[in-house]
């Protein structure tokens, strides 16, 4: 074989909030850590978030997403973590090697342990016309606006009134687009009220109980037809962009390839690798964290990342059992706090169903 092979203690796949926190925890206890990420920037989804985050101060609440990312990256670098960007992990073989497509070519890494923190991917819904140019994922719109400085359109309709739909709506307004409405198929708004308040005070109408029937346009989106599921009224929005914020699903292909058992949990976004409270995925040296282990929030991802980093460090003998147990207990407490309240309970229950299964 002419592919270079490299050995390392811990490889973390994904430099988002979960991956960076995992790396920091492990590196601080003396474990050599390599973080691999396919993007040209570290921070995962954080670097396209220009809004201030909720959560507790520990998770950088009050800071904007990209600032939290910058802080985490700095922490990693201080701890001696080797962050490699532009490096897609294209395979995780059952024998334990990662195949990496990096700037210098394809190579293999054989780590003692791996944290899979690959995040989530956007879901979509299909309807006649959904393939028209101008229709895109809300995350795509966010990338376009906040990273590349280009609007997805002048008149934008948003599908989905969860946090992502609300946040992206606000960010589009901020950048100068008109948001002609937010349509939501279910009968309520599932995002935080504060996010909702912010778009409402910009005059964005919300349409709960409305389903997209079709999208129209010749060479690109011109209008979206929407049906009121209760009243039966059908309306047409003139729009040159439709952003779909209809949920995320864990992106854990590498775990599946490695041989982890995949389970389905609706509350956590769909199929995800089974794991325990220590974020162990059931196979020696394989850990998962963050959205890849069930879609939640950035603050949860950070704590799960820490948990996986602690567990990996302990199992590699770099952290004493008692110390690891104490740190894990603290993380567990914070996770429990984050999963309290009307938005967290269902996620908590779904996570518990994994731990107990």
């Amino acid at each position: 074989m002419n592919l270079p092979l490299e050995h390392t203690a811990l490889a973390v796949v994904g430099a988002g909030p979960a991956g960076l926190c995992a790396a920091v925890e492990a590196a601080r206890s003396g474990v050599p850590v390599v973080v691999l990420d396919e993007n040209e920037r570290a921070g995962g989804q954080l670097f396209k978030q220009v809004h201030r985050f909720f959560g507790s101060r520990r998770h950088g609440a009050g800071k904007r997403g990209y600032e939290i990312a910058d802080d985490l990256i700095a922490e990693c670098l201080r701890a001696g973590v080797d962050i490699r960007l532009g490096s897609s992990v294209i395979a995780f073989f059952p024998e334990g090697e990662l195949m990496v497509d990096g700037p210098g070519g394809v190579y293999l890494v054989r780590p003692q342990a791996v944290v899979i923190a690959t995040g989530a991917s956007e879901k979509t819904i299909a309807f006649p016309g959904w393939t028209l140019p101008g229709i895109m994922g809300a995350g795509a719109a966010q990338t376009l606006v906040n990273v590349h400085g280009v609007l997805p359109g002048k008149r934008v309709l948003i599908a989905g009134a969860g946090n992502v739909g609300l946040i992206v709506s606000y960010q589009l307004l901020q950048a100068g687009a008109d948001v002609v409405g937010i349509v939501e198929a279910s009968h309520g708004v599932s995002g935080y009220e504060v996010h909702l308040d912010r778009v409402r005070r910009e005059g964005v109408p919300i349409y709960p109980g409305h389903r997209i029937i079709s999208a129209r346009g010749r060479d690109g989106l011109e209008a979206v037809v929407v049906k009121d599921l209760r009243g039966g009224r059908t309306v047409l929005f003139e729009a040159d962009s439709l952003c779909m914020a209809v949920g995320m699903s864990p992106m854990a292909e590498l775990a599946a390839m490695r041989g982890c058992r995949m389970v389905f949990r609706e509350e956590l976004g769909g199929f995800l690798p089974w794991h325990d409270e220590k974020m162990r995925a059931g196979l020696q040296g394989v850990y998962v964290a963050g959205d890849a282990a069930g879609v939640e929030e950035a603050s949860v991802a950070m704590e799960e990342g820490r948990m996986s980093g602690i567990s990996a460090a302990e199992e590699m003998g770099s952290m004493k059992k008692r110390q690891a147990a104490a740190r894990r207990a603290a993380v567990s407490r914070r996770l429990a706090d984050l999963r309290r309240g009307p938005y967290g309970e269902a996620r908590m229950a779904a996570k518990c169903s994994l731990y107990c299964a």
């Binding site: 074989m1 002419n2 592919l3 395979a91 073989f93 059952p94 024998e95 090697e97 195949m99 394809v106 293999l108």
Partner: protein, 375 residues
């Protein structure tokens, strides 16, 4: 594939057939292979005879099935990388021709017409007009569907647990979905054949042989023929002069194959490895297949690989199928051990086994494929 083909031919003759499938259609070797119907890579003699008969059946099958099986008589190329290989290929071409196959030997400049932008290192090739390609999944689906239309029941997700033999005759098949009374059982279980044989205390010497394949992005038509390298034949038929040069490639059983499917993807093969029932792809093989392919078709390096897969082929000790009956157990038939030739040989296997089951004799001599040739 073999099961579906056999059922297809059986019910064409009016037989009442039930297929017991542990997983789903084409979930074994036929779900993880390319669509080569390659004649020039067959061993001279009965193996080639079988393949030729089979190849002739495909146009009619394509006509008969409702599913488009993407059958394409595109011809096949076998490329020689050095003088030694070319000599071997030339000698084989002569023999294949004598056996009635349409084969010609191409000089590098002739080859350029059939395969533009082939590597300058290629010293020549043989071209077989009779070689063709087909979509193996669609073929399996088409045959299974046609069979179902004619009354075949397919029990999917149903495992055979035991075969009841009394007075030296098959009586009953116990499955996870209950017992099936039948006086005739055909074992077309591919890599599971050994396990099935044990149920009637017969050793069917089949082991899984892994073949790995890379899939590229879809492109416009770039390959007009199915293509293989001489080492492919070497590792397949154990021909000393055609073995891979380096140790690693030999260990993997590496041989170059390339086929562009109807969907535009190029399938690049392949390996022949013994790794038990592990159907995973490996970094060694992915790297070796890629490197090897570039040696034949340098331009292919710029294509994106979007997937790899591996299939477990049912491999008998001499790489040839096991067809026929077993001694001492009436009503038990074998149609297995096709290794990498399952698709190519499916049609003829189905027809011959159906003849054997219904008439007790076959229109072609299948003695060379008897289980007892190994002893």
């Amino acid at each position: 594939m073999i099961g579906a083909a056999t059922a297809y031919y059986l019910c064409k003759e009016g037989a009442e057939v039930m297929i017991v499938e542990a997983e789903d259609l084409a979930s074994g070797a036929s779900g993880a292979c390319d669509g080569f119907i390659s004649l020039q890579t067959k061993q001279l003699g009965s193996h080639l005879d079988l393949a030729r008969e089979s190849a002739q059946l495909f146009p009619a099958i394509a006509e008969d099935l409702e599913v488009d099986i993407e059958y394409n008589r595109c011809g096949g190329l076998m490329l020689a990388r050095n003088a030694e290989q070319l000599k071997e290929i030339r000698a084989r071409a002569k023999k294949l021709k004598a056996a009635g196959l349409q084969v010609e030997v191409l000089t590098p400049s002739d080859l350029k017409e059939r395969l533009p932008d082939v590597s300058k290192d290629i010293k020549g090739a043989s071209y077989c007009e009779d070689d063709a390609q087909v979509n193996p999944y669609k073929l399996t689906l088409g045959m299974a569907q046609k069979a179902q239309e004619m009354g075949v029941t397919i029990l999917k997700g149903c495992k055979v647990e035991n075969i009841v033999v009394t007075n030296n005759r098959v009586r009953e098949v116990n499955t996870t979905a209950g017992s099936i009374h039948s006086r005739r059982v055909i074992c077309a279980a591919g890599t599971g054949s050994n396990q099935i044989g044990k149920m009637i205390i017969v050793d069917i010497p089949i082991m899984p042989q892994r073949g790995q394949i890379l899939v590229t992005e879809a492109r416009e038509r770039l390959l007009d023929a199915i293509v293989s390298g001489a080492e492919y034949l070497g590792t397949k038929a154990n021909i000393a002069g055609l073995m891979p040069a380096d140790e690693e490639a030999s260990k993997l059983g590496l041989g170059f194959t390339a086929e562009q499917t109807a969907s535009g993807n190029i399938l690049l093969g392949s390996t022949r490895e013994f790794a038990g029932f592990d159907d995973g792809t490996t970094p060694e093989a992915i790297n070796a297949i890629a490197k090897n392919a570039i040696g034949f078709l340098p331009w292919i390096k710029d294509l994106d690989v979007i997937r790899s897969f591996a299939g477990l082929r049912p491999y008998s000790p001499d790489g040839l199928p096991i067809l026929g009956t077993v001694k001492g157990v009436k009503g038990f038939f074998m149609a297995t051990g096709h290794a990498g030739d399952g698709i190519c040989l499916a049609a003829i296997t189905g027809r011959l086994i159906s003849e054997l089951v219904l008439d007790g004799e076959t229109s072609m001599d299948i003695e060379p494929f008897s289980l007892y040739r190994f002893k």
